[in-house]
Amino acid sequence: MIIPALIGSLPRPVSLSKKLEQYYLGRLSEEKLEEAYREHTRRAFENLRRAGIRVITDGLYRWDDIFNPLIRFIDGVEVNGLFKFYENNFFYRSPVVKGELSLGENPIPEWLNVALEIKEEVYPGAVLKAVLPGPVTLAYHSINEAYESLDELAEAYAGVLAELMKELPVELVELQEPALAAELSRATREKSDSVSAETAKALIERLEKVKALWVVTYFGTPRGFPEGVILNFDLVEGTLPENYRGDLGVGIVNARETKMERRDRLVDKLKPLLRKHGKLYVTPNTLLDFLPESVAWRKLKLLGKLGGE
């Protein structure tokens, strides 16, 4: 069985960005901004329903990148300048770890409650997952000024995430973990330390005890496989190792190029995987932020057409 799914973000609609700009300039009230979020989320869920995407996210419309604003709600973290997110013309604000990490007050559970409410109205058949950055990716993309090693920092982040996950009103949590496949790009900065493969695996497996996990990797092939999770592989810029036996998601449409894939070729690619795994989720290979909105939706519609037995 093939189940079309969304991973991470949808491109933030320009109309929503305009509302945000007005809000930052003091020309739009918080209530009106919240209305805009809800209206855009509603539209996104309607479009996802029409596209036939069965497992969805809230599109991360309230997030600037996969780290922000979460890192603003973590005590011990300051937010620094802009860094390239891997080899993309897309920038994130970097967490600078200044002290011991702990979760502060945050609105993320409430944001998901709102999304769930809207989903129940417009697309009750879909499964909504929360999206959070994984501890390994957070550690690699932080400027570490407090912990002895990146292993320790990743462990601290895992503690914060576990606490947050317990509060989330959903059963399934997607962890954005590109660093399992592509540690830290030299396009971002030089790497000074690593998270060991054992630590990475152990931390994710520990988080899996808190909530069911969908671990999304991209821009390469993950070197280790945490057990008990759905693991998403990027088949555009990585491969699916022969020895992987767990629950499987495959990123098969290229979210960094506008050229449309041919459906028949995607089907040919999926057939042997389906024979081997029986059930698989098909997704974009990475965040849809890298595409214009119109093309992202065309690619999602294509994914939707792959769904079924």
Binding site: P11, S17, G81, L82, N89, F90, R186, E190, K259, F290
Partner: protein, 336 residues
């Protein structure tokens, strides 16, 4: 030609006056005749040029008043590109990322009119013409036509070379190639270097190369292979950390990014001076120009202006110190 030591310059963009943004909106909606829109752009161009000059900038530009965005402006003028819609870069900043869908052709001059207008209106002897480089245009476009990014970048280099040749004939003396994406893919840096060298080939003007928000260690190995005389790099945003790579810049000039364009806090002249003293530990003042980190367009206009004013004041503090050592001017060098 001689310049005051530590010549000050800009990188490119500057906040558009609010009234001009309204003109852009009206023009895009079809509610403003093209002739009126062009006139508004020209008026804004002079206003910003004067603002740069009033701030004391030695080598100004017009803040790219006629450019909607740094790649979109060029891809819209080169035939063979198509637009599908905006793509987000960070926060609420977007650009119209074009897709190469057929063979690219030079169909009209890219910045010639801008240059003529600014040259005719400036009080300065030299202006800097910023132009987005071939690799960055390729990297920041989708590619549906060429067999590789390399092929696309070299095609763009051919097109830009034609424009540079034209600018030289018109009297341009300083062109800055903006390549913020050239270090995106560490493995592709040699492609970017080759594309830049193809773009500048046979053109006898001073070329600068602007790179920002990147890992400069990837650039440092190519300092001597890139046929430009100046590297204009961002430093303020990274808190003037990670300067060791500058030890490899043994011949070329450095355009030192002394004020942060992503932070509205206005640096004091003393802070600018302190940063210049720090960079002079790596590069002697005879090879230093001073500029903001990057284009100032994301800031409020009054903040952008004050940053330029304080940048120049900071430079003046150091100039006084250098004057005591008899260092007061440098030649305007075209080659490294």
């Amino acid at each position: 030609m001689e310049l005051q030591i530590l010549p000050t310059s800009i990188i490119g963009s500057y906040p558009k006056p609010r009234w001009l943004l309204r003109m852009y909106s009206l023009y895009e909606l079809g509610r403003l005749p093209e002739e009126d829109f062009r006139e508004a752009v020209k008026d804004a161009s002079v206003a910003v040029l004067r603002e740069h000059e009033r701030a004391g900038v030695d080598i100004p530009w017009d803040g790219e008043m006629g450019r909607s965005e740094m790649t979109e402006y060029f891809t819209a003028k080169i035939s063979g590109f198509k637009f599908y819609g905006p793509v987000r870069v960070w926060g609420n900043a977007y650009f119209n990322k074009a897709a190469a869908v057929s063979k690219l052709e030079y169909s009209e001059p890219l910045v010639l009119d801008e240059f003529r207008w600014i040259k005719a209106n400036t009080t300065r002897e030299i202006v800097k013409v910023p132009i987005t480089g071939p690799y960055t245009i390729a990297e920041w476009s989708f590619n549906e036509y060429y067999s590789s990014k390399e092929e696309l970048a070299f095609e763009l280099a051919r097109i830009l070379n034609r424009e540079f040749t034209l600018l030289e004939k018109e009297g341009a003396t300083f062109i800055q190639i903006d390549e913020p994406a050239m270090l995106n893919h560490p493995d592709e840096v040699p492609i970017a270097v080759e594309a830049i060298n193809r773009a500048v080939k046979g053109v006898n003007v001073k070329f600068g190369l602007h790179v920002c928000y990147s890992n400069y260690n990837l650039l440092a190995d190519y300092f001597d292979e890139i046929n430009v005389s100046q590297f204009a790099l961002e430093f303020a945003n990274r808190g003037f950390r990670e300067m060791e790579f500058l030890k490899k810049l043994t011949h070329g000039e450095l355009g030192f990014g002394a004020v942060d364009v992503h932070n509205p806090r206005i640096e004091t002249p003393e802070e600018v001076a302190k940063a210049i003293r720090k960079v002079m530990k790596y590069i002697e003042p005879e090879r230093l120009y001073v500029n903001p980190d990057c284009g100032l367009k994301l800031l409020d206009r009054s903040i952008a202006y004050q940053k330029l004013v304080n940048m120049v004041k900071g430079v003046e503090i150091i100039r006084k110190e250098l004057a005591k050592e008899g260092k007061e001017s440098i030649p305007f060098r075209r080659s490294a």
